[in-house]
Amino acid sequence: MLSPQLDNRHAVETPEGIELLLTPAGLLPRALAFAVDLGIRGAILGLLILVPGLLDRFGLGLAMILVFMLQWLYMVLFEVLNQGRTPGKQWLGLQVIQDDGSPVGWASSLTRNLLRMVDLLPFGYFFGVLSCLWHPSFKRLGDLAAGTLVIHQGRPIKRAAPTQLIAQAPLFVLLQEEKLALLDFAERYADFSQERRRELAGILAASLRTTPDKAEQQLLAIAHGLLGRA
C-alpha cells in the first residue's frame, strides 16, 4: 500500500562501497540553462557573422567553419573540459556526469549532444521535453543513449554560527538521524521565527526535563557538543 517516499535524490554506490547522493536536475533548470547557452551562442554567432563578413568570400568561408564548430563543439568542449558545465549550466549550478557519478568523457558528451537532433524532433525539443518530464531521472533521449545524467551541483555546507554556549552532552542516546536534525536545528536557527523556534524546541522539552524556553538553548548546546566544539 505504502509507496516509497518521494525524493529527488538518487544513491549511487561506488566500487569502494561509498554511497554518492546525486540529485538529477529536472526540465526547468535545464531549460533555463539551455536558454542561457542559446543566448551566448547567439551573441557569438552574431559577432562571427559580422566581423569576418567584412573580409569578402574568404571571411564568409571562415565564418562558416567557425559557425559549424560553434554549433557542434560548444556544448561538448565545455562539458568535457569544464567538469560537465557549459556556461549556462554553471550559472544554474548544473553539471553533466555519467550515470555512475564519474566525469563525462568525449564519447558520452558527443553522443548526448549529437542526439540533440533527435530530441529536437519534430519541432522545438518536443520529444526531448516529453522524455525529460517522464523519466524518473529527467533524462532526455540523448542522455539515455549516452548514459549521462544532469545533476545539481552540491551546495556549500552552511555551518552554524559560533556561539558562546558551553557544549553539553545529550541526556539520551541519539540516533544518526536525530543528531543530524539537531545540527540542522542549530544551523537553520536564524531562519526560523521566534515562535517557531520555541515551538520546535518545545517538542523535546519534556524529554529534556526543562521548560520550552530553556530547551531551545539546551538543544543548541547539544548541537554545539555534537560538532566537537568545546
Partner: protein, 499 residues
Amino acid sequence: MFMLRPEIEPRPRSAWEALDLGVLLARRHAALLMGTWTIVSLPLFVMLTALFWRQPTAAILLFWWLKPLLERLPLYILSRTLLGETPTPGQSLKALPGQLRKQWFAALTSRRLNARRSFELPVTQLEGLGGRERKRRLAILNRQDGRKAFWLTLAGMHLEAMLWMGLLTLLYVLLPQPLVDTLNWQGLLEQNDSNWLWMEHLSNLCYALVLIVWEPIYVACGFSLYLNQRTNLEGWDIEWVFRRLAQRLSGASGMLLAVALLTTTVANTAKAAEPNVHPPVYAQSLTPGQAKEQIRELLTRPPFQNRETVTRWRFTDQSDSQKDVPDRADLAKPSEWQNSLEYFAQLLEIGLRSALIILSTALLWYQRGWLRNVTANRRQPTEPRPDPNIRYDQIALPAPLPDDIAQAAERLWNEQPRQALGLLYRGMLERIGLPFKAAHTEAEILQHIATLQRPELQRFAETLIEHWQALAYGHRALPAMLGTRLCQDFRALFPDQSS
C-alpha cells in the same frame, strides 16, 4: 501539519530541486491528475468552441483565461494525496465546486496575469487566507523562492508554445504527401473562408491537449515550491524527527536512560582529559585554490619528483650559431593587407588539408586490424577448399591389387599418402580373408579382427584405421615415420605373398 510518514521526504531543498520534485509528484499521480483534468477541461473547451464557432481565437483566448480556475482541481488532489488520502476521480470532481468558490473573481481579474500564480494558489486555496492577511503571508513566503515561481511560469509559457507547435508539426508530418500537395495554402490566409474554421479549432484542440500534460505538472511544481518554502521557514523536517524522538524517549525505560547517562559522562570525562590542540579536520577550510597549491607543492618533493644534476662532456655544435637569418622574411612582411590575408588563407587551407590527411592516416592506422580482416575475407573464397566428398571418391585403387602391396605403398607414400594408406588398408582386408562387405564400418572391421585373437594384427589394424580416419575424414597430416613403420609391419604380418 504532522504526518507519521510524509509522502515527500522532508528535507530543505533549493528552489530548483523543489521544482524537480514537483515534476516527480505530478508523475506519481499522473493518471489521476491528467484524467480529472481531461474530464473537466475538454467539455469546457468543446462548449467554448461551440459557442464561438465563428471566432476560434476568442474561444481559445477565453479557455486560456479560465485556466487558473481549473488549476484548483489538481492542487486539491495533490494536497489530499500528501496527507495520505488519495481521492478517487469522483471525489475530486465532487469537491471541485467548493474549491472554485474561494476568491474566484480576483483569480480571474487582478491576479490573472500574476506570474507567481502557481506559488500563491496554495495560500488562497489551502490556507484559505484573503485580504491583508494573505498579503502578509505572501510577503514572508515570497522572500526566497517566489522568484523561481516567476521563472516557472515563464518557462511554462514557452514550453506550452513549443509543445503545441511540436504537436502541430507532428500532425502535419503524418499527413500523406498527395494531400499536402493539393492543399490550398492561400485559402488559409483569407479570413472570410469559413471552410478553414475547423483547422483553427483543430489547432486550438492541440493546445487543450498540451495543457492536459503540462497543467498538472505546472500546478505540482508550484505546490512543491510552496511546500519547500514552508519546510525551509518552519523546519518541517526537524519537527518530524523531533516528534519521533520525543515519542521514542517517552517509551524508553529508565534503565536505558541510566545507561545513556553513564556513557555520556564517560565520554565527557574522556573528552575533558584530552587537550584540544588540533582543530578537527572538518573545521579546516580549504579553498580549491589553496588545496591545489598544496598538492602542487607536495608533488615537487622527493617521493614524487627526484631531481639530479648530470654533468658530462659533449661536442659543441657550430652550425647552430650560423643560422640566424630568416629565409622567408619577404613573405612575412605585412606590406599589403590583401597579401597577408591571402597568405593566411593559404596557411589555413594547408592546415585543414594536412589535418584531413593526418586524420585519415590515423584512422587507417588504427583500423588496420579491421582492414586486414576485410582483405583476408576477400582472399579466402578464391582459394579452393578441399572438398571431402570429392576427394573421397577419387581414391582410385587398382582393381587387382599388386602382388607386393607393401612395396607399392612405399613407392606411393611420398606423393600420394591417401592412395598409399588406402592400398595398405584394402590389402589388409583382403589378406585377412574375412567376408567383409562394402557396408562395414571401420569400427565393425576392428570388432571382426578382434575375434581373430591375433594381438599383432589387431594393433596394426588399430593404428592403420585410426590414421586412415584421421586422413580420410579429418584431412589431418600423417606423422613422418608412419609410412615405413606400417609397411614393415605389413610385411611382417603377411609375409606369404610379399616375396
